[in-house]
């Protein structure tokens, strides 16, 4: 069967809006002793962006404790992940937020009333889109901040990042080898066939995932629905859970099955799980299955400037380039090397 794949690149959706505080989120300058007042409609705007799964953070030159206290008073503190409130440059604040959230620089937007600060950020990070605070009310209708569908995972996104933050804190507090720490998490990696109510999330994953993505090809809900019910394809979805909670549906694999061979058309993992090594687990699962079924295993791969880690995941799982056409590779795995799952992850397979 022929696949009509939506190869047209949609403009990158933004994942995070970083806010200045003085004369941007609120009117007035906190450190000058002004009585600051939230800009009209800002509270609703923040809640709206949060409900769409857009992450929010702060880059403000202020006394950290004073500004955080003010955000608490306004009841907004909980919305902002990794707020950077100090006297360093805004570009360094953005770099820190980008590193902590582990998202692409080109998915960050920055809103500030001062042209100097916006220019300073763009000079250091040309991929960041900046917005003049005067235009703040337009944020809610920007296409980059208006995902077509908002999945359950998106609605919970901020909470999942907060769980990540607690994991990181307890990891830093843990004295001993990383394997021991990972073992304390009680990770369960569940691989199952995609059900109809997974498909919106899978569509979203194909659009949002850049680093751990084997092709970068996006699939529409309709295409995924057809593939999920097609006997010639397997559509796998992965969920990762640990004692801090669920990471949600964080990975997928699309496999085309032919009598003598399987081709992994797409393999991707959310960048939030990069440090858990689960991409290798999903690949190991497919290798084991192909070996059990006695078929040859191929994989399509399209090299982008972002997916070197996925290339490495494939090639160190013993996939070899069988043929190539520019950036498009076709891998084959001879199934001679099969790795067991790591001790610290319990793998559950549901059919």
């Amino acid at each position: 069967m022929t696949e009509t794949v939506d190869a047209a690149r949609t403009a990158t959706m933004a994942k995070c809006v970083v806010w200045d505080l003085d004369d941007t989120l609120w009117d007035g300058t906190l450190s000058s002793g002004d009585v600051v007042v939230l800009k009209p409609g800002v509270r609703e705007l923040i809640a709206e962006l949060d409900s769409r799964g857009i992450l929010l953070s702060v880059a403000s030159k202020n006394n950290h404790d004073d500004a955080m206290r003010k955000l608490e008073e306004f009841g907004l503190a909980e919305y902002f992940l990794y707020p950077q409130i100090n006297w360093n440059s805004k570009s360094s604040a953005i770099a820190e937020i980008q590193r902590r959230l582990n998202i692409g620089m080109d998915t960050i937007m920055f809103i500030d009333d001062r042209a100097f600060e916006r220019d300073e950020v763009v000079f250091a990070h040309p991929q960041v889109q900046t917005v003049d605070a005067a235009d703040y009310l337009g944020l809610g209708s920007l296409p980059r901040l208006s995902p077509e569908v908002v999945t359950e995972d998106a609605r919970r996104r901020r909470h999942m990042y907060l769980e990540d933050q607690r994991r990181t804190e307890s990891e830093l507090a843990h004295d001993g080898p990383r394997a021991e720490f990972l073992a304390t998490l009680g990770m369960v990696f569940a691989i199952s066939r995609a059900k109809d109510d997974d498909l919106l999330r899978l569509e979203e994953l194909t659009k949002r995932t850049n680093q751990l993505n084997s092709t970068g090809i996006t699939y529409s809900h309709e295409q995924l629905e057809r593939l999920a019910h097609d006997p010639g394809h397997d559509l796998w979805v992965c969920e990762l859970t640990d004692r801090y909670g669920s990471y949600g549906k964080i990975g997928m694999a699309l496999v085309r099955r032919e009598p003598e061979s399987w081709t992994i058309k797409l393999l991707l993992m959310s960048c939030r799980t990069v440090s858990m090594g689960v991409g290798t687990v999903l690949l190991s699962f497919l290798i084991k299955r192909a070996a059990e079924d006695g078929v040859r295993l191929f994989a399509d791969f399209r090299r982008t400037d972002r997916n070197r880690q996925m290339l490495l995941t494939y090639q160190l799982a013993n996939f070899h380039v069988a043929s190539s056409d520019g950036d498009d590779l076709r891998y084959e795995n001879d199934l001679t090397v099969r790795q067991d799952y790591p001790d610290y992850i319990e793998v559950e397979i549901g059919e």
Partner: protein, 94 residues
């Protein structure tokens, strides 16, 4: 980092740096012995994040760029083979 040691000791220095990194960062190896010819993929599960850290370590420590077609299970399977790859890449770039 360690560039002086590399220049003085050549391959031995490269091997020592890589061995130290693998020993310190590979989850299954914290107590096990590691010889340069041991296959690290057989010694324990190599996660994709460890492999990426290893690649970044090699590139930043020895100032080389590992091309896509050098990223193979074989080239990364032991300290000895990684050392050989680094030495070859350094020689190629002069």
């Amino acid at each position: 980092m360690n560039s002086e040691a590399v220049e003085q000791d050549g391959a031995a220095g490269i091997a020592a740096d890589i061995r130290g990194f693998v020993r310190a960062n590979m989850t299954a190896l914290t107590t096990a012995e590691l010889r340069d010819e041991d296959n690290i993929f057989e010694k324990g599960f190599v996660t994709s994040i460890f492999a990426m850290q290893l690649l970044v370590f090699i590139e930043s420590t020895f100032d080389v760029t590992v091309p896509d077609d050098h990223i193979t299970l074989r080239n990364f399977s032991s300290v000895e083979l990684m050392t050989g790859m680094v030495a070859k890449l350094k020689a190629a770039t002069g």
